[in-house]
């Protein structure tokens, strides 16, 4: 283990990534879809929603199988990172997944992606998968932060973080019963008239390692994970503190770790679920953490186009944030109807906006006050 008191902390870089969303398989359709500003929502086709209040979701066509999509995403990310067989055999896999619907109907062990974490790792020829992150909407970003901590501490060389969720009947019924799905079929983050979230397919994988390890392998990083922060808010079972204190502390921790001032941040991919109280709390968190600059930095929530992929959402959005930095073009905050006084932000509206950024924030928040901030730096 590296001694963090005597050695400069390792710089964590992203060397491979892959994503599947309702726009299709691969990062190119995801970026193109997000920049188009055309939401991928449509009538649910995978199961009947006849008895539900809401009827829309963002789904891949056909009947995708999560285990197969996950294996493909992990393989794609590892290939992009040029991880050889020996490197894969020593790489840890951190998974963020929803538990299987089948597990609720059969006695037996809890399963994920129709399998066990060890079997998911073995299928991709990775060393092991010690756990599945189940921290709701911050599951995958928590896994990314843990991966970074493992690399910085010298616990791990390469870490693969993978996450997946495919829209399913149980979750749809659950969220519909909770009355948090948008009945108008659109997600409208930070907008007046927003009705709630919509579910969306999302499967993604990234390879993280130290900059030195990537350099030693002759691999060019796609981007750098300059900072990460996580915090709670000690406020409520399911609602974030209205003052945004938890997410604000996570943002502050990420900026301090990166040594970046608010003005250095060129884009925020917000959690922006499209629910009333959560969006206003997030806006408050940005103002609390960034001060007056919170009204200037461009903000959008890409959930407005690809939907909410639950445990996988933070990884899908992290991949998209890396893609946006590399493309120099900011995605639209779709579904916008008009301003909300409690969400005074510089939203990217109308069409994608060209902008060369050095740093971008990817934010996520969940039940129980769990909040994460990932600060991505251009390579």
């Amino acid at each position: 283990m590296a001694d963090s008191r005597t050695a400069a902390p390792a710089r964590v870089v992203i060397t491979g990534m892959s994503a599947t969303s309702a726009y299709g398989r691969g990062t190119e359709p995801l970026l193109a879809g997000a920049l188009s500003g055309q939401p991928a929502f449509g009538p649910v086709g995978r199961f009947s929603v006849e008895r539900r209040r809401a009827t829309a979701a963002a789904e891949l066509p056909g009947t995708p199988v999560l285990a197969d999509e996950l294996a493909a995403a992990i393989g794609g990310a590892c290939d992009m990172a040029a991880l050889g067989p020996a490197e894969r055999r020593s790489a840890t896999l951190l998974l963020a997944l929803h538990t299987d619907a089948a597990a609720a109907r059969e006695a037996g062990a809890l399963s994920v992606a129709g399998s066990t974490p060890a079997a998911v790792a073995a299928r991709s020829r990775l060393a092991d998968a010690p756990r599945v992150y189940a921290t709701a909407c911050v599951a995958a970003s928590t896994a990314i932060a843990d991966a970074a901590a493992m690399i910085v501490s010298g616990r791990a060389g390469q870490v693969v973080v993978a996450a997946g969720y495919l829209v399913d009947e149980d979750s749809f019924a659950l969220f519909d019963g909770g009355r948090v799905l948008a009945r108008d079929g659109q997600v409208r983050p930070f907008s007046s008239g927003r009705q709630g979230l919509l579910l969306g397919d999302g499967v993604a994988a990234v390879v993280l390692e130290s900059a030195a390890a990537a350099r030693g392998r002759g691999v060019s990083p796609l981007a750098r994970l300059a900072g990460w922060g996580r915090a709670g808010d000690a406020y409520h079972v399911c609602q974030p503190c209205p003052d945004g204190s938890g997410l604000s502390r996570a943002i502050g921790a990420a900026m301090r770790r990166a040594g970046v001032d608010p003005a250095g941040i060129g884009y925020v991919n917000a959690n922006g679920s499209g629910t009333g109280y959560a969006d206003s709390s997030e806006a408050a968190a940005l103002h609390r953490a960034l001060g007056a600059y919170a009204g200037e930095v461009p903000v959008s929530s890409t959930k407005s186009v690809h939907g909410h992929a639950l445990e996988a959402s933070a990884l899908l959005e992290f991949v998209l944030t890396v893609l946006v930095l590399r493309a120099g073009c900011l995605p639209v905050n779709a579904g916008y109807l008009g301003p909300d006084d409690e969400c005074r932000l510089n939203l990217v509206l109308g069409s994608a906006r060209e902008a060369r950024c050095r740093y971008a924030l990817s934010l996520n928040a969940a039940f129980g006050g769990a909040s994460t901030a990932l600060l991505v730096a251009a390579a």
Binding site: D128, D146, F367
Partner: protein, 202 residues
């Protein structure tokens, strides 16, 4: 249940040495007791189990809730379960299979974050919240998660709860508060100060 020293080894960021188990609890309790219900949580014993494990553990170190505000602000919650909330998942599945609407309360309790939020709000714990399904040894992996958070300076201490539902002996679990040894030397009980209205930003 006791944690072996190997489960608590960590290099603390301030050079204060290894993590110390500050308090612990287990379920089933001795003498036997019933799980207290939590308002707003229905059907399943999973969330009451996690909350009661936390309650019995945290009271040993902090006394009555909430926790000392400075320590609470820097205490994380790691909630691990090998089984997950079986009863809530089964109730959701049953509602779907029979074409019924899912009760709204099941939505709120369907994720372990919900009871973690209950514990955090009651005790004023404002560190990170992490919920996991360990693949191997549940407690060892949960302690690994806590150690990583503390080594990474995301928290000074962590409440680690392992809660499992419906085993051969019914619901079972353990909870441990782990943190720096200096917290043992200086009592962490709330000393009658009013709880601050907000969490400071640092």
């Amino acid at each position: 249940m006791t944690a072996s020293p190997a489960l608590c080894r960590a290099v603390l960021p301030d050079g204060a040495g290894e993590l110390t188990v500050l308090a612990r609890s287990r379920w089933p309790a001795r003498p036997p007791a019933a799980l207290p219900a939590i308002p707003g949580f229905i059907i399943s014993s999973f969330s009451p189990l996690a909350a009661e494990l936390a309650e019995r553990c945290l009271r040993q170190h902090f006394g009555d809730p909430p926790a000392d505000s400075e320590r609470g602000r820097r205490t994380a919650i790691v909630l691990a379960s090998m089984t997950g909330d079986i009863a809530t998942a089964a109730a959701i599945a049953s509602a779907v299979d029979h074409g019924r609407a899912v009760p709204p309360l099941l939505f709120y309790q369907s994720n372990p974050n919900a009871v973690a939020g209950h514990i955090a709000a009651r005790w004023g714990l404002a560190g990170p919240v992490v919920c996991t399904i360990p693949a191997g040894h549940g407690l060892a992996d949960a302690m690994d998660s806590a150690t990583l958070l503390i080594e990474d300076s995301a928290a000074d201490a962590a409440l680690v709860v392992l809660a499992d539902q419906g085993g051969p002996d019914g619901d079972s679990g353990v909870a441990m508060l782990v943190g720096p040894a200096r917290w043992l030397a200086q009592p962490g009980s709330h000393r009658g100060k009013p709880r601050p209205s907000g969490i400071s930003d640092e």
